[in-house]
Subunit: 241 residues, 2 copies
């Protein structure tokens, strides 16, 4: 009954996204409008592969958790939403450490572009690292994929935190001096979900200062008086990107 | 930018289902209650992998279109819903012939069972061939996966056919004499979607007789006066199963 063969998969392309590290990538991508772009690998760089794609408002991306593949998997994983100390089964989680390391994410279809012989597909609502290998794209079909009343009891008892996000005068000024139209929204949407480790998330006055890189900008922030306070937005030196 | 490495995947288990051939497997699985059972491969046959799985009403199965893998893929595919003559891009389709041959299907979680050291996961709403290799199971999370207003313009202009299903007295009698509780529902739900080839689906009086096997039963049917008429339900000889 069991099938112990191995099968080979090859990425069809690579996603570029604002997210340079796993930290602060939203666990509720539907709340975030982050944009991404799929660049097709030579074997798949054919506009015919995407014929009629524009008739769908949303798409599924199947991808590889490429940064985790070498670390393998364990039968149970820590659940950040449950405080990080509860362990749940790997198949009861969307953990990035899992057998076969495949992820799936529903995104909005922003359209196909052909530039100098390169096919590109623009999407929004991405929660994927820059450089993620894409292994499939499928149309989102509401009649089979949308189950609005699906229950997830454990998670529903542990809602995602939501914090107000504020900017210091310095950060506000730096925000005006950078080129990414959606950087302010990204910061508000991603940091509002409080990406600190679960054991810290109860702390409304955290002395620790945090960093996250979106695009080429290094965002400095803290949690003070229950709010996320962004104190600086600095350009990352080119050599470390 | 592109990633031309290949990656290896190994099935975590195998699904058993009533569907012995691709023909007549519903394209709208949500309308069908077909049950399936995942038998875990030795490396994944650990109840810990499924800890807290019962807190989710629905699950995603990622699987391989194992019967098609050797036939490869083409940039465009015929779309049965569009009459079979229109060709659309492979990534604008849920075609089973696609790069990497991975499918995804949302199913209802019917629970985990341990029998004689074998872990089994029961699900319903399956639209997968018996023997399908399962490569991942993920909880269905309505907040990220359910997009009720997702548009699929092309398909919405071409609704799935729905036909009334009737049984001859012979078939009615044979239905009573077989052991599968859900066989009648399966027949009504699957054949009601008119699984004939697209070029035949307009034909309300089709002289051709069709067969399909569900479980170990060979179903004989025709389309007459716009209805599906089931004329016989016979046991398939063991040696051909």
């Amino acid at each position: 009954m069991s099938d112990s063969r191995t099968y080979q998969i090859t990425p069809i392309g690579t996603l570029s996204s604002p997210f340079k590290q796993k930290f602060a990538i939203p666990r509720q991508p539907a709340l975030v409008n982050a944009q991404g772009c799929i660049h097709f690998a030579p074997d798949y760089n054919d506009p015919n592969c995407l014929r009629e794609l524009s008739t769908y408002s949303h798409l599924w991306l199947l991808f590889l958790f490429h940064e985790n593949l070498e670390q393998g998997w364990t039968p149970t994983v820590r659940a950040p939403r449950l405080g990080g100390n509860s362990r749940i089964g790997v198949f009861a989680s969307r953990s990035t450490f899992r057998p076969n390391g495949i992820g799936m994410s529903a995104v909005r279809n922003l359209g196909v572009e052909h530039i100098n012989g390169q096919v590109k597909l623009h999407v929004s609502g991405v929660d994927l690292l820059d450089g993620t290998p894409i292994i499939d794209i499928k149309p989102y079909l509401a009649y089979s994929d949308s189950i609005a009343d699906a229950q997830a009891t454990l998670l529903e008892q542990n809602p995602v935190p939501a914090r107000h996000v504020e900017f210091t005068p310095t950060a506000t000024q730096q925000l005006l001096q950078q080129p990414h139209d959606d950087l302010r929204d990204l910061i508000v949407q991603c940091l509002g979900q409080d990406p600190r480790p679960a054991y810290r998330q109860q702390d409304n006055n955290d002395a620790k200062s945090y960093h996250v890189i979106f695009y080429d900008r290094d965002i400095h922030w803290q949690v003070k008086n229950g709010k996320v306070l962004v104190s600086a937005i600095e350009q990352v030196p080119q050599r470390t990107m």
